[in-house]
Symmetry: C2
Subunit: 326 residues, 2 copies
DNA sequence: TTGTATGCGTTATCAG
DNA sequence: CTGATAACGCATACAA
């Protein structure tokens, strides 16, 4: 069933049907005739042919580092909501934490198969920036601050600063930190710097043996908690760069009968689902993940319909969730 | 940049370039010339035009009830892995637990924008079945058993039976059950029936006040645990149809200083991430979610390239994770 | 092996 | 307001 057959059945020209579909000039009479035929036949225009003509695919490419993460799935949910409402669809590309795959996907999307790209950033290497700059379509980066494009990100620095401040004010002084690679500016650099600056404010000198770096997985929390405890007899708190890492640390503490928060206080970032169920519940930071997705998708769609709007950088707030683990 | 320009630059016909792209007859000489030009120009064929001709989009529609769920995101990860390796892309449609949206998406996908559909089923109403049957492209249902198409699902019944049996053998007799709507055959009916049959095997008569039904969210666990405890003074265990529900129940128990497993034992299904971190850790069932996604995607792609292969129903196994909560 | 010509299903242009 | 017609970029039947 194509536009010509519909036209014949309705006794009009294909062009008239096209106008009907795209709200062009059309007499009420023909409009009705076409509506009737389309209703009866259940005709649906071929989006490929439309795309071939209009260069619009109504598809948005969303590149994420992994799907089975509380925070990312929330961002994706926010994006999906907006896209659905506006008649767009989401092409989901999962890199499984392989940076190079991000570039691969960007280049794949470049073939005009999407109208725009949303990149949930972890690492933004020069290669990434080059790939993005070569893009002819609008794009937006979520979760990382960058000057090469519109971006929506979280106030990681202040969140870490205030959370560390809170821990210190609770009486802890020998605080260990389990972070992630500094290639990730948001999570690796900013959260750590917030932590360090809070220490400095309280005249606490951070010892090297208290600062650890690991992966984004639970294992890292487990192993680094072990390492921190073995080297620092006075350790009384651990701040982890993500809730997932904190969960790993908690696992180690539990297995070794170390009481939270009496022996060791612990806190994370991201307000993962388990945080409130654990006992003691986990002190953490709520970021506006879903909102990040909503804002990002909304901006991107605006940019697609109106390419002249200037890129913006939007910093979202946070909330310290003061639970029992500190 | 299109196929004609490449042809001109390489001094060949557009058809030759097309053959180069599709491994058709071509002399080595021309092959090299075309390769050179394509390499230099960075030419990428328009997938829309290809689709218009070939009717193949290399897109797979994946319909899911929600994205921020441990189990579902694992299935999606498995699907994504296979699709990537085979040069397909995933169009992700999130229904946010609205059944009607599933039908909407199925109908949207029907416009030939995808080569196949993967439906992560919750509820399969007659309307769903009709929408699926109207489909001209291959599709597969994951997580639910059905005779209308290929399906890959979990052995929910036996898992529930064995888990309940295990709980009973641990000495519990007054076991409450928090389930979900029976519209969901896999989770709502099969798990409950496994539970009931295990009771029967041990000559335990299930009292109505011990069987609850709620939503898939934590709230349901919290509220129904409260209800169970208020009506059943002898209650000594709670089996929840999902880990998420179990987490809600645990929250209620913790808040009311009810000791797990001494006062009340508790168990769930799905081996969610928190299950191992909780203390006591949660007894649960491991299902092969990622494998389910992998198998589903693999089968679908096979079916796309070879439409004649018969539909199959594949039942995946499970593993009881015996943790401390029972 | 190669090239020419045609059509996939739309939409934009233009003349009416 | 309407309709004929020419693209969009590619793959294939057919002729060579």
């Amino acid at each position: 069933m194509n536009i010509n057959q519909i036209a014949k059945l309705a006794g009009v020209s294909p062009a008239a049907v096209s106008r009907y579909l795209n709200d062009g000039y059309l007499s009420d009479e023909k409009r009705k005739a076409i509506a009737k035929v389309i209703d009866e036949t259940g005709y649906i225009p071929s989006s490929q042919a439309q795309t071939l003509r209009t260069k619009k695919t109504k598809l948005i490419g969303v590149i994420i580092p992994k799907i089975d993460s509380d925070s990312i799935s929330q961002v994706v949910a926010g994006i999906g909501e907006v896209l659905n409402n506006k008649g767009y669809k989401m092409l989901l590309a999962n890199t499984d934490n392989h940076d190079e795959k991000e570039i691969e996907f960007i280049n794949t999307f470049k073939q005009n198969i999407v109208d725009g790209i949303i990149l949930l950033g972890t690492v933004l290497t020069p290669k990434h920036k080059k790939a993005l700059k070569d893009l002819t379509m609008p794009y937006v980066v979520l979760g990382q601050q960058t000057d090469i494009s519109a971006c929506i990100y979280h106030d990681d620095y202040t969140a870490a600063y205030e959370l560390a401040d809170y821990i210190i004010n609770k009486g802890h002084k020998n605080i260990g930190y389990i972070g992630v690679t500094e290639n990730d500016i948001a999570v690796g650099v900013n959260r750590k710097q917030g932590f360090l600056d809070a220490l400095e404010k309280h005249d606490i000198k951070p010892s090297k043996s208290l600062i650890k770096t690991g992966s984004f997985y639970m294992d890292s929390g487990y192993e680094n908690a072990k390492a921190l405890l073995s080297k620092n007899k006075k350790l009384d708190a651990i701040l982890c760069a993500t809730d997932t890492i904190a969960l790993g640390a908690i696992k180690y503490l539990n297995e070794n009968n170390i009481k939270i928060p009496d022996d060791i206080a612990i806190a994370g970032f991201g307000e993962s689902k388990p945080s409130s169920i654990l006992s003691p519940s986990l002190t953490t930071v709520h970021f506006y993940y879903r909102e990040c997705g909503v804002e990002g998708a909304t901006f991107l769609l605006n940019k697609i319909t109106n390419p002249d709007i200037p890129d913006k950088a939007m910093k979202l707030g946070f909330e310290i969730i003061k639970n029992q683990s500190v």
